[in-house]
Symmetry: C2
Subunit: 192 residues, 2 copies
DNA sequence: ACTTGATTCTAGCATTGCTAGACAACCAAG
DNA sequence: CTTGGTTGTCTAGCAATGCTAGAATCAAGT
């Protein structure tokens, strides 16, 4: 048995290596640069090995997205926990979210821009994704306002953040006024 | 001279054909399906002809994006002109925007998701893009609220709409509650 | 030592964006 | 009409992509 166990361990280790390398490559030069050949070369295996772990490139993106969702949830909870009062928590949440998108553009792309073959907003949505949304909901639910469904409010707030994040990163919005935009958004949307 | 003029006309006509076909193909099966080979075949010319009109695929996307920007501006002005009062105009604007994104997903992608090699939010930004933003500003400037820069407010509102549009289309938000989200957004962001 | 079964690699397919160089069509001058 | 040159278009090909079939290799158990 121990032989098989060792093999399984090694296999799991290699899978981690693949994902870490894919992410590294993507953050370095974008997901377009993550070709199966380059990835295979970096992990010092041949291409077909990748396909023994993942169905294809899409599934690799999906796996990175799941990692990212978990990290995003952690980052959001860390950001809000330091703040006092609902209003301050929402501001911290917004800043934390945009910060995450700026600092991990490739992971953010995997999560919300690219096709990783994941199911969103459904029953079979993977746990990390649900938890990411839950992290948003925890803080935003407090400021949804009377008669407004917390989940609906969270969706709208999230969409706004997402819009700011993507438009800024795509050069459609200048980064200078990022902070003013966040303040305006929180001021208007959150009911305190 | 008339010979040259005819040739120029024919050339311009063919350029229109290329763009219309690219757009058609993109709306049919997404921009990934718009390959230079398929495009060339549809217009019944060989691939290199495309490169005598555009530097490459990116520039074709950019050209479609410019068309789209002009159409979006028209659509937004048409939507708002029928509404009475600032509040109704903003609602109409939001609906019109999301409608445009839903009805022309490929064009919307060319405009705001893909790289068409265009400059945004700068001096050398092409006129149609500036005008698209202007169309938003005309209606949103009215409801920015005291002490809030109209352009800043427009950016935030636009980002929210963009977030709703992209997340919905990518399956990250369910389309059922689209209308509720718009109402909530307008209610909170617009100062009437 | 040998066989068997899993694992990994080499080599290749079809498709992509893009381009060089051959070829043909056309127009102006003789 | 013929010729010469320009302009335009096409054929053929490159390197890179995602993915896969089948050969080669390695390790485990007898």
């Amino acid at each position: 048995m121990s032989v098989q166990e060792r093999k399984q361990r090694e296999r799991a280790e290699r899978e981690r290596l693949i994902l870490a390398t894919a992410r590294e490559l993507a953050e370095e030069s974008g997901w377009d640069a993550v070709t199966t050949r380059r990835l295979a070369e970096r992990i010092e295996y041949s291409q077909p090995v990748l396909y023994s772990h993942f169905r294809g490139k899409r599934e690799i993106i999906g796996a990175v997205a799941l990692q990212g969702a978990a990290e995003l949830a952690v980052a959001l909870r860390a950001a809000t926990s330091a703040a006092d009062g609902p209003r301050a928590r929402v501001t911290a949440l917004a800043r934390g979210y945009l910060d995450f998108a700026t600092r991990n553009p490739a992971v953010y792309d995997a999560l919300f821009q690219l096709d990783g073959g994941l199911a969103y907003a459904q029953e079979d949505t993977p746990e990390p994704l649900k938890d990411g949304f839950a992290a948003l909901l925890e803080t935003l639910g407090e400021v949804a306002g009377d008669g407004v469904h917390p989940a609906l409010f969270t969706e709208v707030f999230w969409a706004s953040l997402h819009g700011l994040a993507t438009l800024t990163r795509a050069g459609r919005l200048l980064p200078e006024d990022a902070e003013s935009r966040v303040e305006l958004l929180v001021d208007r949307l959150a009911v305190v």
